[in-house]
Symmetry: C2
Subunit: 304 residues, 2 copies
C-alpha cells in the first residue's frame, strides 16, 4: 500500500498490458505463457498458431489460448505482441513469412534457448518499425507438449532477456514486465554472452548426457558377459546424470546446431579433462586424481 | 504362517545368525550395517574398528556398534564375521595385518564398489580355513560418515555378491541371508563381470560428472565476459547431471584406480561418442545429430 514494487501490484497499476498476443507454437512453453497471460489478465485476447489441430483444440480447452489460426500471416496482422515459441531453426522462415504483416510498433519476442546470431537475424528480417526483444525463460523441459503446460512454470525460474544496441527501450520494458509478472527472476545480458553461458551450463551437460547414454549402449553391445543387461544394475547416480538425455531430440538438435560455434570448443575442453582423468588412471596417479575429484566436489557444492 | 518365504520370517526361524561381527571402518555403510545387525538381532555383539575415537564413540551412541577397538588384530580373534568397510585400497594392508589372527571357519566379507582383482587378492591373502565372500551393496553415497547411517539404507537396494570357484557355499549362503535380511535385492555375479557392469553404470558416470565440473571451471576462467559467473545461471539440469560429482574424493579415487583397467577403454568409448557429436556440429549434420539424441532418449526412458 505504500509504494510496493512487487510485480503483481505493478501490473495491476498498469492495467491490461497487451490487446492481442499471438503465440506461435503452443507447446509446453508457449502454452504455459498463454495460461499465464489469461490467468493474470495480461492480454485481452491470446491467439495460438500451430500446425496440429488437435493440439490447438486442447490448448483452447485448457484455457491457454482464446482461439487459434493455422496461418500465421492472418493471425499477426492485429497483434501488439507476437511470441515465437517454435524451435529456433524455424525462426528465419517464420519471420520471412509474416514479418512484413505486423503492425507498426508491435513487439516480437521469443522463448528460445539460443540467442546470439538468432537475435541479429530477427533484427535484420523484421521491418524497422517492429521491435524485437529476445528472451529465454529457463524452465524445465524434459516433458514437451501443451498437456504439461502450467501458468506456474516460470515462477521463481530465471528469464534472460538479451537486448542489443538496436532494442527499443519501451518494448524491452514491456517484455521485462511480462516476465516479472510471470514470477521469473529477470536478468539482462548480451545475446552472445547468453549463448556462451548457456552453452556451458546447459547445452554441454546435455551433450555429455546424450554421449553417456550412447556409450552405455556401445558397452552393452561389446561387453564380455553378453547375457547380462547392464541397465538393470543402474542406480540413482546414472538416473540423475542422464535425466536430461530424455529431452526432445528435435529441440536439442536445433539448440546444439544453433550454438555450435560455442559448443565445439566446449566439447574439446570436456574431452581434454576426460583425457586427463584417463591419464591419472593409466599412470596410477592417485594424488592428481584425488585433487581433480576434490576440486569437482568443491565446485559442485557451490552450485546454487 | 503357511511357509512364507519372506526374509524376516526366514531370519526369525534361524535365530541369531552371528555371534561376534567385527566391522572394519564404521562410516555410512559400515555404520548402517551395524544398525541393521543390532535392530534385527542378527548378531550377539557388533564390534567396530576404526582410527577416529570420536567417530567410534558416536557409532556406539547411535547403537551401530556395541563396542570398539582401535587395533583390528585384537578385535578379530573371536569373530565369526568380519566386514571390511574401508576404502578398497586398504584391503591388502588390512588382510595382511590381521588375516592370520582370524579363527578357523570365520567369514570375511566386504562392501566395496570394486571386486575383480580385489576378491582374488583377498582369497590369496587369507588362510585356507577362513572364507571370503565379496559383496557390494549399491546404496547412495554422496554423504559419508556414520552420522548419516541408517538401518534402512539397504532396503530395496541391489546387493551384488561375487562368489568364485573358491567360495565356501555355506559362507556364501550366510552372507546372502544377511543382505536379504537387510531388505536388499541380492544378485550373484562373477567379480570381473561386476567390475565391468559397475564401471559402465556407476564409475564412468562419476568420471563424466567430475570432468564436467572441471570443464565448467575452465570455461569460467577462459570466458570472455569474465564479470559473469556462469554458475549463477545453472538450472536443475546441471544440478542433477553433476550431483554425483559431490561424492567422496578418497573413495572415488580408490574405486577408479582399482577398476582402471576397465575404465580406461570406457573413457575412450565415451570420448569417441563426444567426438561424434562434435563432428555433427562441425558438419551441421542435423540428421545424424537427431538420430544420436533420439537413441539416447529412448535408452534413457528404458532405465529402471
Amino acid at each position: 500500500m505504500t509504494g510496493s514494487n512487487k510485480p503483481d501490484r505493478h501490473i495491476a497499476e498498469m492495467g491490461i498490458q497487451f490487446r492481442r498476443v499471438v503465440i506461435i507454437g503452443v507447446g509446453l512453453i508457449g502454452g504455459s505463457l498463454g495460461l499465464l497471460l489469461k490467468r493474470k489478465a495480461l492480454a485481452q485476447s491470446v491467439v495460438g498458431v500451430g500446425r496440429r489441430f488437435d493440439n490447438l483444440e486442447l490448448a483452447v480447452k485448457m484455457g491457454a489460448i482464446d482461439s487459434y489460426e493455422l496461418v500465421p500471416q492472418q493471425a499477426v496482422t492485429q497483434a501488439d505482441l507476437v511470441i515465437l515459441a517454435t524451435p529456433v531453426e524455424t525462426y528465419a522462415a517464420h519471420l520471412q513469412a509474416w514479418g512484413q504483416s505486423l503492425p507498426a510498433r508491435s513487439i516480437v519476442s521469443d522463448v528460445g534457448s539460443v540467442k546470439g546470431a538468432l537475435v541479429e537475424q530477427a533484427e535484420a528480417l523484421l521491418p524497422d518499425e517492429v521491435y524485437f526483444v529476445g528472451a529465454h525463460p529457463i524452465a524445465g523441459r524434459e516433458k514437451s507438449g501443451v498437456a504439461y503446460a502450467s501458468s506456474d512454470l516460470f515462477h521463481g525460474a530465471r528469464c534472460i532477456i538479451t537486448p542489443t544496441s538496436k532494442t527499443n527501450p519501451h518494448a524491452l520494458m514491456r517484455v521485462r514486465q511480462l516476465w516479472e509478472a510471470a514470477g521469473s527472476v529477470v536478468t539482462m545480458m548480451d545475446p552472445f554472452d547468453h549463448d556462451w553461458i548457456l552453452g556451458a551450463v546447459s547445452h554441454l551437460p546435455h551433450l555429455a548426457a546424450f554421449a553417456l547414454m550412447s556409450t552405455l549402449q556401445d558397452l552393452q553391445e561389446s561387453m564380455p558377459p553378453r547375457a547380462l543387461n547392464l541397465f538393470e544394475y543402474s542406480g540413482g547416480g546414472l538416473r540423475d546424470t542422464t535425466r536430461i538425455a530424455a529431452s526432445s531430440p528435435e529441440m536439442w538438435r536445433d539448440i546444439c546446431l544453433a550454438n555450435r560455434e560455442r559448443l565445439v570448443p566446449m566439447i574439446d575442453a570436456y574431452v581434454h579433462r576426460l583425457e586427463q582423468l584417463k591419464e591419472c588412471l593409466q599412470h596410477v596417479d592417485g594424488d592428481t586424481l584425488h585433487d581433480l575429484i576434490h576440486r569437482a566436489k568443491v565446485l559442485r557444492e557451490q552450485l546454487p
